[in-house]
C-alpha cells in the first residue's frame, strides 16, 4: 500500500494515540518526485540525492542525504522526512 495514497484514516478520531501511528513503519518513506519541488533553503539551488536507501519495492526513499549542487550543504532524510532546516536550526530542541 502506498503511504501517500492511503486515505486519511479514521478522520473522525483525530486524537488517537500517536504511538499507534508511529508503529506504522510503511509510512516512513519519501516519494522521489518530492525532490523536484525542493531546493537548498540557503541558496535555492537544486538538491541531489546521495546514499539513497529504497523500500522493498525499490520505488520510495527510506533514507538518504540531499546535497546542494551549489554550496554542498547536506540535508538528511530520516524516516521518509527530509530535514531541510538550515544547519543552525537543526537541533531537536527549540531555538
Amino acid at each position: 500500500m502506498s503511504a501517500v495514497s492511503r486515505p486519511f484514516r479514521e478522520r473522525l478520531c483525530p486524537f488517537r494515540s500517536r504511538s499507534l501511528l508511529l508503529s506504522a513503519v510503511s509510512l516512513f518513506i519519501m516519494k522521489e518526485s518530492l525532490l523536484e519541488i525542493l531546493c537548498c533553503p540557503l541558496d535555492k539551488h537544486d538538491l541531489e540525492l546521495e546514499d539513497a536507501e529504497y523500500d522493498d519495492a525499490g520505488e520510495e526513499i527510506v533514507a538518504g542525504t540531499l546535497v546542494c549542487s551549489e554550496c554542498g550543504e547536506r540535508y538528511p532524510i530520516e524516516d521518509g522526512i527530509p530535514n531541510l532546516l538550515p544547519p543552525d536550526m537543526r537541533e531537536e530542541t527549540p531555538a
Partner: protein, 192 residues
Amino acid sequence: MTLREQREIETDVYQPAEDSQLLAEAACARLPADEDQLVLEVGTGSGYVAGRIAAETPVRVIASDLNPHAVREARGEGVETVRADLVAPFADGTFDAVAFNPPYLPTDPENEWDDWMEHALSGGEDGRAVIDPFLENVGRVLAPDGVVYLLVSSLTGVDEVVERAGEEGFSAVAVADESFPFETLTVLKLFR
C-alpha cells in the same frame, strides 16, 4: 493563566482546534478539483489540515513544519512532509496554493516559554512575528496564479495583516470567519 493553560496543551504538537477546522473547510471548499494542483500547508502541526485536503480534494498536498515531533505526527497521517523553516526549501513558482494557520497569539516576551508549543502558539509581542516573514517569502514559491489561505485572529489584527500582505503585492479577501468569546477567526485568501 498562561497561553498553554488557555489552550489546554499537553503535548509537543499543536492539536487540531477551531482554527484548524475553519482553515481546512475554507481551503477544501475552494481548491480546484484537479489532481495536477500542488498545495503546501506550512506549519502543519498534527497534519490535520493537510490530511483533510488530501482526503477531500484530488490535489497533491505537501506539509511542512519546524517541529520534528509535528512532521513525524503529520507523516503518520499519510501526508508527505518536510521539516522546514516556512517556505525556505521549496522551489520557486511551485505551489498553486499555500495554506497556513500561523502562531498568532500576542505574547509578552517575559511570559514566553522555551519549548515547541511556544513556537506553535506565540506570534511575538504583536502576534505577527511569524506572519510577517511568511508574507515576505511566500510569493517566491507560488505559481503565477497561486493563492494563499491564511488564518488570522482578531487578536493579531486582520487589518494589519491585510496591509502587510498589500506591501508584498497581495490583494486580500476574507473567505470565512467565525466568532468565539475571546477572538474572531478569519481565513484570508491572498492573491496577486
